[in-house]
Each structure stands twice: as structure tokens, then as C-alpha cells.
């Protein structure tokens, strides 16, 4: 009785699939589900959140001390809190068409960024793919792009205002023209770096241009494309604030300009914090999507 039971044991421990006898495949042991260590997780969380919090508190204290004396040029944190607390505690109030919470203003700006950046992402990847694939296209277009990409975002504004004769599409165009270069150039580099092996596979399979684009090029260049998108989204957030200052509307950029004109310095400081946080979130969002999409590509 005991002998067959012993014989059976190794089979049940290594759940190898039924296979012909001749070629034995040694299946690796399944990785044990690692026990979730809440204590270690808590410690890591603390180790990562405490240092930045301490730094912020110290900086706030320094700021408070430096600007507390009467007649200082900038308001200290306590004054920001006292004067602009309505902006801080409720980001989504609506008191009138021009008097809305900062959260809503950010959303208006984000909508513009979405249009401009979305267009830049699509065009950047397409044109980048063409340049990456064709040596002649690259030779023809690369010098032009290298010059154009150094033009500062706001320098495009007057010309786009003249072309579109409206502030809304002009602002979107400025975002587009700012964000497209890193996407385009990174995509081109990514595609130029596709290993010859993958191209050989595509050739043996006789993939056509469209199949090659979606099945080989985009996945293979995805890590490059996403680092371009990440730089692009940061640049578009930089550009939108500047563009809105000049074009008006209800975006966060115009709010700062408006607050400056009515000497509400504390409101500007709150708006700056908003812009910084939103930019941070945008960056993390793109890098998060990139991490999901490109998982496995670096194997």
C-alpha cells in the first residue's frame, strides 16, 4: 500500500502536463504566493512619505519667518491660508460664469491640453514612424524639425492667432506644436532601433505595411514612444498656462493673470500649487499607462 503512494507523490508535487515519455520537460516549481507583509509595506510607505513632508514643513516655516515682517513683498503661508481659504477648500464652486473654483478652471485647461496633446501624440507617432522607417525622409525632414523644435511655445502664439483668428484653436495649436517634437523624435529613434530580428520575422511572414506598423513597429518602439509622450505632456502643461495668460478664457493660466491684475497675490500662490500638482499627476499618469502598455517589451 505504502509503495505506490510514495511513487505518486512527486507527480502531484510537480504538476507537469501529460507528455510523451521520450522528451521529459522539467517544469519549474510554481512560485509560492508571497505572504503580504503589512508591516514592511507600512514601513516603506512611511520611509517614502515622511522625508518630503518634513522638507515641505521646513520650507513653509522658513517662508513664514522670512515674509512675516510688516511691509514684506510677498505674503507668508498664514496669510495665503487666511485670504484664499475659499479657493483652497472648495475647488468646484460656481458663483458666476467668470467666478468658478480652481478645480473647474484646471478642467477647462485640461480639456485644451487633451485636444492639443492628443493631436500631437497621433501626428507625432505617425510622422515619427515615417521618419524612422525611411532614411530619405529623415534626411529631408530632420534638420527642419531640429530647428523648429527649439522655437519657444509662446513665439508660435501670434502667428497662430493670425492664422486661426480665434483664441481657442490658437491655444490648442500652441500646445500641439510644443508637444509634438519630443513624441516625433523619440518615435523615430525607437523605430530606427527595432532589432533586425523582428524585421526578419516580419519579412519571413510577409507582413504588409499596416500589419508591420501595428504588430511590430508600435509595440517594439513603445518604450521610446512613451518617454516621448511623457516629455510632451509636461511641455504642453507648461505651454497651456502661458498661452492662456495671453488668450484669456476661464482656464487656470488666465486666472493667474487676472489675479495679478487685481493684486490678489495669495490667489496666485494657491493657483501655482494647483498647477504643480496637476502637472505632477499628468506626468505620473502617462508614465503609468506606459508601464502597463510596455510591460514585456524589454524581455
Amino acid at each position: 500500500m505504502s509503495l505506490p503512494a510514495q511513487k505518486d507523490e512527486p507527480v502531484s508535487r510537480f504538476p507537469a502536463p501529460s507528455q510523451p515519455e521520450k522528451a521529459k520537460v522539467i517544469s519549474l516549481k510554481q512560485a509560492l504566493p508571497n505572504n503580504f507583509d503589512f508591516k514592511a509595506l507600512g514601513m516603506t510607505l512611511l520611509a517614502n512619505t515622511v522625508p518630503p513632508l518634513v522638507v515641505v514643513l521646513v520650507l513653509l516655516a522658513v517662508w513664514q519667518v522670512a515674509f512675516s515682517h510688516p511691509g514684506s513683498s510677498l505674503p507668508p503661508p498664514s496669510e495665503v491660508w487666511a485670504q484664499s481659504w475659499d479657493l483652497i477648500i472648495d475647488p468646484f464652486f460656481v458663483y458666476g460664469t467668470q467666478d468658478i473654483g480652481l478645480g473647474l478652471r484646471v478642467l477647462v485647461s485640461l480639456e485644451r491640453v487633451a485636444y492639443g496633446f492628443g493631436l500631437a501624440a497621433i501626428c507625432g507617432v505617425l510622422v515619427g514612424a515615417i521618419i524612422g522607417q525611411s532614411v530619405w525622409m529623415m534626411r529631408g525632414l530632420d534638420p527642419l524639425f531640429q530647428v523648429l523644435r527649439t522655437v519657444p511655445p509662446l513665439a508660435w502664439l501670434p502667428i497662430s492667432l493670425a492664422a486661426f483668428m480665434d483664441s481657442r484653436p490658437s491655444a490648442i495649436f500652441v500646445i500641439f506644436i510644443t508637444a509634438i517634437w519630443p513624441v516625433l523624435i523619440n518615435t523615430a529613434v525607437g523605430i530606427r532601433n527595432i532589432p533586425q530580428d523582428y524585421r526578419n520575422v516580419a519579412q519571413v511572414l510577409r507582413l504588409n505595411q499596416v500589419e508591420f506598423f501595428f504588430k511590430i513597429m508600435i509595440p517594439a518602439a513603445a518604450p521610446y514612444i512613451f518617454s516621448g509622450l511623457r516629455i510632451g505632456v509636461g511641455l504642453s502643461w507648461l505651454a497651456i498656462v502661458a498661452a492662456e495668460m495671453l488668450t484669456g478664457g476661464v482656464g487656470i493660466g488666465f486666472f493667474i493673470w487676472d489675479a495679478w491684475n487685481s493684486s490678489r497675490l495669495t490667489d496666485i500662490i494657491v493657483a501655482l500649487v494647483y498647477i504643480g500638482l496637476v502637472g505632477f499627476v499628468l506626468d505620473k499618469l502617462v508614465s503609468f499607462i506606459g508601464a502597463i502598455v510596455t510591460r514585456g517589451t524589454t524581455a
Partner: protein, 263 residues
Amino acid sequence: MASYLKLDHIGKTFTRGAQKSEVLRDINLSIDKGEYVSIIGHSGCGKSTLLNLIAGLTEVSSGGVLLENKEVSAPGPDRAVVFQNHSLLPWLTVYDNVKLAVNKVFANRSGAERHDWIMENLSLVQMAHAKDKRPGEISGGMKQRVGIARALAMEPKILLLDEPFGALDALTRAHLQDQMMEIHARLGNTMIMITHDVDEAVLLSDRIVMMTNGPAATIGEVLEVPLERPRKRVDLASDRMYLKCREAVLKFLYERHRFVEAA
């Protein structure tokens, strides 16, 4: 005479700027259907170039490759390649890697038929259990097996193997060689394998094509391996015919056409 694959006076010269280098000169070879042919030679002798020429990945400078009496000059699934470094697409699972090939080659079959065909080929190389794994999650030997499954799934007229086991450790290599012999016995594919391993060449091949050293390398000698199949590596270790074949290849490589540094 109608041979299955015919290499007819093939030559290859690479041109870079004004510099010309002749890699292969006047290669003539006929291969029958179902034959297992190995090409052996020192590194740099143009073995891989020859395979790429047959695959159509590189264009011939002179001569031609004839498959069933038709000239082939572009790559295609009738000459599937198993690449040395497996060349699986890392963002696709094992199943999807084979599926990419099957969907392309058998576009006219139904979804269920294609699924069965993918699974059949994965089972053939004993990789069906890992079908949902990505290439990064499996070992080198497993990757190469999937590469073989992908090539077999195209139902190629000729299977081209570019040092398929070169990057593997000795034990895994022996195991895969046994599997390769089994697959060859079962499916009767025509196979051309590049190798620099003398034992591997003698064990697997019906004929061994020995290349001279480059530049302008050509076929130095073709050795018939008259060993009966199925072959067992352990029995062969002391087989007289096996040792004779082995000696012939070694003599060719190390006495008559010794590797010349910076040749």
C-alpha cells in the same frame, strides 16, 4: 534532374561604398525533399549569409536559388527560419507568437482550425503548457522550442535553422537535438541547419556540407552520413561509422581548412 531545392552557382559580394568583399563564390548544392542537411564551417565563412540567401533575407549577387524549379528571391513562409536567438516578439505570449504566423499563413482557415493548429505545433515541441507565458518568463531552451513551433506552424517547404542550439547549454542542446530528430522523423521536413558543432552535425544530418574559409568561401566537401535512423546518441558514441564521419569532418575543419585569424 529535378531536385527539391537547388543552389545554382550562388555568389555573394557585399559592397560598402567603394569597398567590395566577396563572401561566397560559386555555391552549388542540390537538396532532396525530406533531407536533413547541415552546413558547417569556421566562423566568418559565410554560413549565415548562405542561409539568409536561401531565406531570401539577403539578395544573391550571382546565381539563383530554385525551390521546386522556381526561383525564389524574396523571403516567405515557404522557407521558415528558426533564428539563433529565437527572435520571439517579447510583447506577445507564446501562443500569440505562433498565432501571428498561423494567422498570416493560414488566413483562409477558420478560427477553431487555426487554434487547433497552433496548439498542435506547441504540443509538438512540448510547450503547450506555457502557452500564456511571455518569452521573458521562459528559459532559453523553451524560447528556442517556441521558435521551432512557430516555424513548423507555417508548414514550410524547407525549414532553415541558423545555429538553433548555439546559445544553449549542453544538456538543453542534447535534449532539443533529440526532439528535432523526432520531429524530422515524424513530419519528414526538409531541413537545412547551420552549425559549428561537429557532433551535432553528424548526429542529425543525412549530409554535411563543409565550407572552406572566407573570403570567397565555397563548398569544400559534402559528406554523406549513412547512419540508420532513428539514431540514439548513446549508442552512436561508440559506433564505427559515426566516429569515421566525425573524424572526416574534424580533419576537414582542423587540418585542411584550419581557421585563419583575420582571414
